[in-house]
């Protein structure tokens, strides 16, 4: 596993303090960075909505249960991967959870050698998800002129031909091109094209 992923936060939300603490301890011992919450609302107030990571949710909690919390995360567009833990597994709940985008669904008590790969998987997914979200965000900041130049750049036209086609000065094309490269954090045209392609997958 790459250290980058391992650094990502693992949130634990469970109303039972012992469950929270024990899980947190176990995962810390496996070198994860955990944050434990016994109250769903408190978690929602404190997490970083744009950051990647994983959240392990207890499906049955007072006030705000696992499903409701998951719903709120999706509404807020969080890239966090969700793993459900439930005391008493019931299939409809699991199906619903997975359909709404949960990565995994486990019945308590869950074994460490099952849970840990699932968390790693979730972190990886979350990372990808976060990347896509960042691209999407970058794309959303483009002006219409920049989008036109981007599309022509990707099909392999040079600055001069772009300037001709759009009836603008070559200098202007160069300025927009630099802005594009910066927004997508790309050094080369190939890099830009790769990221744009990735973005198109999600669109």
């Amino acid at each position: 596993m790459q250290p980058e992923e391992k650094r990502l936060p693992v949130y634990i939300v469970d109303d039972d303090q012992a469950a929270c603490e024990s899980l947190s301890m176990m995962l810390e011992d496996h070198d994860f960075h955990t944050q434990a919450y016994t109250d769903g609302r408190f978690f929602l107030e404190n997490y970083d909505p744009s950051a990647a990571g994983c959240v392990i949710l207890d499906s049955r909690m007072p006030d705000l249960n696992g499903q409701q919390l998951h719903q709120r995360l999706r509404e807020e567009g969080s890239p966090l991967s969700v793993i459900f833990l439930t005391g008493y597994g019931d299939v409809p709940m699991a199906v619903q959870a997975l359909q709404s985008g949960a990565v995994h669904f486990f019945q308590k008590p869950v074994k460490a050698d099952v849970l840990i790969p699932a968390i790693e998987d979730a972190l990886y997914t979350s990372l990808e998800q976060a990347e896509k979200l960042a691209l999407r965000k970058a794309f959303d900041t483009l002006t219409s002129r920049e989008i036109d130049i981007l599309k022509l750049l990707i099909i392999g036209q040079r600055n001069a031909s772009i300037a001709d086609e759009l009836c603008i000065a070559v200098r202007t094309v160069e300025v927009h091109r630099a802005s594009l490269m910066k927004k997508f954090a790309a050094n080369t045209i190939a890099e830009l094209a790769f990221r744009y392609g990735k973005l198109n997958e999600t669109l």
Binding site: A18, A19, M25, H30, P62, P109
Partner: protein
């Protein structure tokens, strides 16, 4: 029947002795028959104490005389007993009657009777009726007092020449006639039977009409020498004024008749209201004119010596008056004994009925006893079943709590698993013991928690018997709330417990009370859930409020929820359920448990929706162990 009659020694003797008389009678009847064709029939009733046959024998000569003396009429003889005579007079079937002085007075009181003539007896004159108390000659009885508390025979309680005159005699002597004899056998007519009983030794003495003994001796029915007539007391002097005549004590009265009592007027003939006065006059003339040597008066049977003008019946009237003033009240036991004697069949029937009733009574008693034993058995079985039922309901609660329990146990279990993983990892990393021991401490804490959950559950289903313990009621309620905590969480229902200051513990059936509270809370949760799914708008939140109030003599616990409320208000009844999966037993069993502890459980609706259960438990109660 008839041959049987004639084979009787009495009748054989009568036939042998009276053959000539029969012949004469026969001829006379033929003669009468001829006359009757043209003459008017005049019915004359004659009292027949010795039976019809003897009455005809005795009286036929007199009737013959009358028919000879009086032209134009035909007197017919109607032998009757006391009862029939009275009836015949009442129904006006008779023109004239011939009867004894006793009945003469009795009838004279009720009907219009004119006395025509009285009989005159040879040697006895106008007074020839009385009683003779007869004993056996060789017996030790010489005076009436010798017969004290001995049984005697008599004809009838109503017989004048016989029992009544003797009773009157004893009465005048200052004796209690009822208690004097140990028993009086009333043998009924004919009067002869009394003397036969005496002869056969059934009784020690017999009271019979005067002259009966002598007549029967003469007729050869008895040997007169075997018997003796007791003398009446010599202290008793009859009043001349009353017309009573006292015979020589125990001596033959004139014509060989001996009497014990005073003598009363003879038989008389009277005209009834129906009879003709003119005819009465002619009868009187004819009878008074009867010569004393006429065959009618010379009849050896009744020793009649013609007729004389009617004798005063005052003495007889006085006798009845005395006896009426002092009614013959017998002691109860004698009356019962007499009744039993005369109604043997009825007595037997009654006795058997009584025996049957007694047997029935014992049978019923036995059945009752058996039923009682069965009832006791049934009751104890019922109590046992009640215990089992309560236990079953507890188990069913545990079933309902199953999901909840599983989840609850899962929490510490998964924690233990996690901690164990940590320990393993830390050991693998060869961390020092001070990094491992705290984790193990956590494991132990979680194990304790698991234990507690299991213990709570176990205490709920532990034993079917009831046992009372000093308990902290509020701790018990908290424990029950723990048991359903998960359900509360799941349904998002809030349970609030308002405690009170309870100075001391209560004596409670702990298991039972746990069952009660878990039942009440479960019901409340169900009601809230039901309300939420059916009626609630977004803002609804289920709430259960438990309030404990300390009172003078009791503790009041109120469980209020804001669920659907009740369909059935009031007193909880079994198998009445509104829930699809409910047994309908929760409340009923809870009520039973509370009532067993002398408490009360009431349930009612709460506004705007929901219900309120009030549970009152006595404060100072140390239930005696049963």
């Amino acid at each position: 029947m008839r041959s049987a009659h004639f084979s009787h020694p009495l009748f054989t003797a009568v036939l042998k002795g009276l053959l000539p008389v029969f012949l004469a009678l026969y001829l006379m009847l033929l003669d009468t028959a001829e006359v009757s064709a043209k003459d008017k029939e005049i019915p004359v009733g004659v009292l027949a104490p010795r039976g019809e046959l003897i009455a005809r024998q005795n009286w036929q000569p007199t009737f013959e005389w009358l028919n000879q003396q009086i032209d134009g009429v035909e007197f017919t003889l109607h032998p009757l007993n006391l009862t029939n005579m009275a009836q015949a007079v009442e129904q006006r079937h008779l023109d004239f009657i011939i009867t004894n002085p006793g009945q003469a007075v009795q009838l004279g009181r009720r009907f219009e009777l004119s006395w025509i003539a009285s009989q005159n007896m040879s040697g006895m004159g106008s007074h020839g009726i009385g009683s003779a108390l007869v004993v056996k000659k060789d017996s030790g009885y010489h005076r009436i007092s010798d017969l004290y508390h001995k049984p005697i025979a008599a004809v009838s309680e109503e017989a004048f020449g016989g029992y009544l005159t003797l009773v009157h005699h004893l009465f005048r002597k200052g004796l209690d006639p009822i208690r004097f004899f140990s028993d009086v056998h009333f043998l009924g007519y004919p009067v002869d039977a009394s003397l036969y009983q005496l002869r056969d030794g059934v009784v020690d003495a017999a009271v019979v009409p005067v002259c009966l003994l002598e007549q029967m001796d003469r007729d050869g029915l008895l040997n007169g020498d075997e018997f003796r007539v007791l003398a009446g007391s010599d202290g008793d002097v009859p009043s001349e004024k009353s017309g009573l005549r006292m015979p020589e004590p125990g001596s033959p009265t004139g014509n060989h008749c001996r009497a014990t009592t005073a003598l009363y007027p003879n038989w008389s003939i009277a005209r009834t209201a129906h009879g003709d006065i003119g005819l009465a006059k002619r009868i009187g003339q004819a009878l008074l004119a009867m010569p004393s040597d006429h065959s009618a008066s010379q009849s050896p049977v009744n020793a009649v010596k013609g007729w004389i003008p009617p004798v005063s019946l005052l003495s007889v009237d006085q006798l009845y008056e005395t006896l009426d003033l002092h009614p013959l009240v017998r002691p109860l036991w004698q009356q019962v004994l007499r009744w039993l004697n005369s109604h043997r069949d009825w007595a037997l029937m009654m006795l058997s009925a009584l025996l049957l009733m007694v047997a029935y009574h014992f049978w019923l008693q036995m059945r009752f006893k058996q039923s009682r034993i069965r009832l006791t058995e049934t009751l104890s079985r019922l109590a046992e079943k009640q215990g089992q039922l309560e236990h079953a309901q507890r188990v069913s609660i545990v079933g309902e709590l199953g999901t909840s329990i599983a989840h609850e146990i899962n929490q510490p279990l998964s924690a233990i698993r996690n901690y164990t993983e940590s320990v393993r990892t830390r050991l693998k990393k060869q961390l020092p013991a001070d990094k491992i021991t705290p984790v193990l401490d956590q494991v132990v804490t979680q194990l304790d928690r698991t234990d507690a959950i299991i213990e709570r559950l176990r205490s709920l289903i532990k034993r079917p018997e009831v046992s009372y313990q000093s308990s902290d009621l509020q701790a018990l309620i908290t424990e029950c709330a723990e048991l359903i905590k998960h359900q509360l969480n799941e349904q998002g229902i809030e349970l609030q417990l308002n405690k009170a200051e309870l100075a001391e513990n209560l004596w409670l059936d702990r298991t039972g009370m746990q069952q009660v509270f878990v039942n009440l809370f479960s019901n409340a949760i169900d009601a809230c859930t039901e309300y939420q799914t059916r009626h609630a708008t977004g803002e609804y939140k289920g709430r259960i409020l438990v309030e404990i109030e300390s009172r003078q003599e009791s503790v009041m616990i109120t469980v209020t929820d804001n669920g659907t409320g009740l369909l059935f208000e009031g007193y909880p009844r079994a198998f009445l359920t509104t829930k699809n999966e409910g047994l309908g037993l929760g409340l009923t069993i809870s009520r039973d448990i509370v009532e067993r502890q002398s408490g009360t459980l009431r349930i009612r609706n709460h506004l705007p929706h929901g219900c309120e259960v009030s549970l009152e438990l006595p404060r100072h109660r140390h239930p005696s162990k049963k």
